[in-house]
């Protein structure tokens, strides 16, 4: 039921600047009465558990073929790790599925896995610089689009 086969890649193919780490999540509808499936996820430093109330992201898993749902999650390249005082490219991804069936809501087990984005660590002080870099890259993307027009 709560299948989550994994396919990982850094999103470098189409973007001039890497902004996300992408990971695919799959869900196989184990019954005919499933009306929708959401995935809830959160990222934490290694060894920590999520504060679901404040960190949760929720995404709908669309059916991509009969009984099979798929969603590409966009994860951060690095997350702040206060214990180590750095932005770490190794962290934990926690997720579970919310399954709607016959009007009822059921939940899968909680899954936790280690993510290594390969982006490398950064001192915490560079967090704002990294944000700025991302904004600049977004602006560049927009300019490129305008140029194309």
């Amino acid at each position: 039921m709560a299948a989550s086969s994994l396919s990982e890649r850094v999103a470098t193919e189409s973007a001039p600047v890497v902004r996300y780490y992408q990971i695919e999540k799959w869900y196989y509808d184990y019954a005919e009465n499933i009306e929708a499936v959401n995935i809830h996820y959160a990222c934490t430093p290694l060894g920590e558990i999520p504060d679901w109330n404040n960190q949760r992201a929720t995404r709908f898993l669309p059916l991509v073929e009969s009984h099979l749902r798929r969603k590409v999650l966009k994860l951060p390249l690095r997350i702040p790790d206060p214990n180590r005082g750095e932005l770490n490219d190794r962290y934990l991804l926690h997720h579970y599925f919310e399954i709607f069936a016959d009007g009822d809501t059921r939940y899968s087990s909680l899954y936790t896995e280690e993510i290594v984005t390969g982006a490398g660590g950064l001192p915490m002080a560079l967090q704002s610089v990294e944000s700025l870099t991302t904004e600049v890259s977004l602006l560049n993307d927009e300019r490129d689009t305008l140029d194309d027009d």
């Binding site: 009306e35 929708a36 809501t105």
Partner: protein
């Protein structure tokens, strides 16, 4: 497509006779009315079961229908009361709407502008739970959506007084599907940028917004931190000034976002607020701020099942129930403004049947 509300509720207002002999009665069509040999009584109180609690006999007027005239609701003093809360008994059995009781608003038919139903299943989000919840709050009809449009195809929305929206998922939903669903009776579009992972001002929405503009139907958009932020929604509204856009929840987040949402509504004429999960004092403040023509009551029912409007512990920010809050809100608003917020605004925007003067 313009719609008329067609419904046969378990319990509702009805006019008997004509002219000077006209009588306004409560009509009961529930299970207990099937046996006309048993004397039925309606057990009732007003405005949240305030004392005194009364009982009056229901008379059978045709198979399956029993009516009662309540002395408190005669022409001279009916305006004293806002809502009737009630249940029905035959002496042995009770029909108390599965423990949630029934509510009828006095003088208008209320509409919930934000409902969800996932199908015909027995769970919290199934049709039966929603109908029970709506009857407990006096909601005679509402605007509904579900995250997968196909699930709605299996439900009988019209019989339940539900007017569906078409859920838009850029990159997946086709233009032809939207056009077909609108032609088949859907009354607007639904956007949920958070769960579907796109910013609310995404250019990929433009083809769907063009359909909405052409069809003259509104767009309801989840409003919350991140991709569904009211700043994004405003930009979408600016690009399509002829399409009414309803900010669902106003803003599902801290008060700062609600203030921003209200500011946008003040400055952008095609934006509207919907109030699910806002406490009644917040709703009142929003109405005072943007005007009663720009606010729609909604509840997100029946996320919390058949007890959605009256759940214990309270589900509106953990402090109040919708049913309790609405009594306070309607009292403070007065009947004219309450009619707008609890029905007329949505009926106008979504092209339903005129106004909330239910009789």
């Amino acid at each position: 497509m313009k719609q008329r509300v067609v419904r046969r509720p378990t319990i509702g207002w009805q006019i008997l006779g004509q002219g000077t002999s006209e009588r306004r009665v409560i009509a009961y069509r529930g299970d207990l009315a099937k046996d006309s040999s048993r004397g039925l009584r309606i057990h009732y109180g007003f405005d949240g079961w305030q004392e005194p609690i009364q009982e009056v006999r229901l008379e059978s007027i045709e198979p399956g229908v029993a009516v009662a005239e309540l002395p408190e609701l005669n022409a001279t003093d009916r305006n004293r009361h806002l809502a009737l809360d009630c249940s029905v008994t035959n002496g042995d059995d009770w029909d108390n709407n599965q423990g949630n009781d029934y509510r009828l608003w006095v003088g208008f038919d209320a509409l919930d502008a934000h409902l969800h139903v996932s199908g015909n299943g027995a769970g919290a989000l199934g049709m039966n739970s929603l109908k029970t919840a709506m009857a407990s709050a006096g909601m005679v009809c509402g605007i509904s959506s579900w995250i997968d449009n196909r699930a709605l195809d299996r439900t009988h929305s019209e019989k339940a007084g539900l007017f569906p929206l078409v859920w838009i998922r850029p990159g997946e939903t086709s233009r032809s599907e939207v056009e077909e669903r609108l032609a088949a009776g859907a009354v607007g579009l639904k956007l949920h940028p958070t769960v579907d992972d796109y910013p609310a001002d995404d250019r990929e929405l433009d083809p769907f917004m063009e359909i909405a503009a052409e069809a003259g139907c509104p767009v309801a958009c989840h409003s919350a931190p991140g991709d569904a932020d009211p700043d994004h929604i405003r930009r979408l509204a600016e690009r399509f000034p002829d399409v009414p856009i309803v900010l669902y929840h106003t803003y599902l987040g801290p008060p700062e976002g609600r203030r921003r949402a209200a500011d946008h509504v003040l400055q952008q004429p095609n934006l509207y607020l919907e109030t699910s999960w806002c406490q009644w004092r917040t709703v009142l403040r929003l109405i005072e701020e943007v005007g009663e023509d720009r606010v729609l009551f909604g509840s997100d029912a029946s996320i919390d099942g058949s007890a959605h409007y009256a759940r214990n512990p309270p589900n509106v920010e953990g402090r109040e129930t919708y049913n309790d809050g609405l009594i306070h809100l309607v009292r403070r608003l007065g009947s004219d403004r309450a009619r707008k917020v609890l029905g007329d605004n949505a009926r106008r925007l979504f092209g339903l049947n005129g106004n909330s003067h239910g009789e």
